[in-house]
């Protein structure tokens, strides 16, 4: 349902276009599968929050099963689904949430407000020229996972 409300990208060109056309706004790219339950929960939160953050952020979904997109799956080191990557003016922004991977948000958000807070923190940091921001979500609501070094 939420995938109907949010744009789903299946090609590298589409991803390139949306990254290049989003100017002075945060671009939220969710990498995942629309059939996965955690992705569904995550997409639901995104769909509900998209209007609230519409003035400073854009949200798009990327289907990881598409072949064209595998370049980005490898480039962004995506190993867990859903993974959310944040961009601002075609520059990737990192989020320090206390986990091993600062380059993305892994897992689903618990509540809508967490997502809005994260996007706001990223926007504020980006407007001040910061490439990495502190995650405003409390640790109990941050999903935990194990990160393997080069599949070791």
């Amino acid at each position: 349902m939420s995938s109907l409300l949010l744009k789903t990208l299946t090609k590298k060109e589409e991803i390139d276009r949306i990254i290049r056309d989003t100017i002075d706004e945060v671009l939220v790219l969710r990498f995942g599968r629309c059939t996965d339950t955690v992705c569904l929960q995550h997409d639901d939160i995104l769909a509900k929050s998209v209007t609230d953050v519409s003035k400073f952020a854009k949200v798009a979904l990327v289907d990881v099963d598409s072949e064209d997109v595998q370049v980005y799956v490898k480039y962004f080191d995506i190993t867990w689904f859903p993974s959310t990557v944040f961009f601002f003016n075609a520059h990737h922004l990192k989020l320090d949430s206390g986990t091993a991977d600062h380059t993305k948000w892994v897992g689903a958000f618990h509540i809508k407000q967490d997502f809005i807070d994260v996007v706001e923190a990223i926007y504020r940091g980006a407007m001040k020229g910061k490439m990495i921001v502190q995650c405003p979500v409390p640790p109990e609501r941050i999903p935990k996972y194990q990160l393997l070094y080069k599949d070791v």
């Binding site: 370049v71 003016n89 990737h92 407007m127 001040k128």
Partner: protein, 422 residues
Amino acid sequence: MKKPSKKREIEYCKVCRLHHDHGSRHKYFPRHKDLLSTFLDRFRTKIADVRFFLKNPSVLRPQEQSQNRVWCVFCDEDIVELGSSFACSKAINHFASSDHLKNIKQFLSKNGPAMDCIDDFRISEAGVAKWEKKCQSLGNEDASSFKGSCGQLSGTSNDIHNNLAFKTMDKIENVPAQLINSHHSSDVLPLQYNTNKYQISHSELPGVAHYGSYLNMDSSHLPLHTDPPSNLPGNGFGKHVIPSRSKDYPSNQDQERKQIKGSYSSPGEVGMTSISSSHSNDACGNVHSGAPPPWLDANDGNSSNVQLNQSDMSSSFQAKIPGKTRKLNPNRVGAAWAEKRKIEIEMEKRGQTMNSKVDADWLPNFGRVWQSGTRKESRKEFEKEKRKLVKTESISTESEPVKIQPYISKRARRETGENGSG
């Protein structure tokens, strides 16, 4: 040995509204200077309103005396026009007084800026003298037209209808009652009953009257009707004023100020003067001819009750909208890229064919998880890995299938070779 530094007294700065121990240095601080300029500009607008009444004296009704008040920031006192017959008379006298001048000098020496702007905040004695003469002439006019109306006025002032009219929110009904009380001339008959808007729109009377002191009234006090000019009973609207009594009323406010000859009188006084018709044939046009309203053309600081027009609202909103229309932080992430991209998009929109095709190998700036070094290096690393992958894949597809054969020893190969040759 060091002398112990003097403990400076804590002072309160009424411009910055804070306590400080900076002493006399405080007035040179940039924040104080900024706040001072806004502080003085605010007072300048107030004194501009008072100066308007200096040039165009008008009679003040007792009901509006409490509204006509000014706070003098230099003297720290509230000037209320209680008991004064002309609008802003006490304020004018105060601004011309020597005490006020002394307080201005004290304020400026304490807070800056230079003393050359003293005259902005006071009224000269010559101006006051002119104003007094005008008031006297006004008073004479009122006295001559005020014949035998006191009794009626006092009667009507005690009228329940009129008292209610001042209190209720229905301004359309208010105005006729107020006007009945305030306007008396030989041409106008006192009304026997309270009028309402329907009666006003359909009635006709000779004689023309006009108001002054619009600043003290809300524009909502005035009846809103768009009928063609007609002279109305006792409501003070003249031929040339009625068109302004529609929702476009504020558009003619400036013109009316220029046209003001008479005064808006209290129940105890009479004042109705006619507007000269030459002003109505102004080349600028009016609401009916579709001319632009004067506040869009000229800067006017006096119109405190002017309603903003649609275009004014939109322009003010544009000025106030933060973010996109305001200048963005040049130090934000990807600022240079964003500016370049905006120019490219604009050129594409104009139709100039740019290299819109993005390179298939384009990758955004990304900091990988296991990166060491800059993001460019991580991108190069990724591209290397990609090339390796491509190579290994191509090698695996291009290589021929290997034939598996049993092992033949060197001796056996030699023997077969000799047997073959021999």
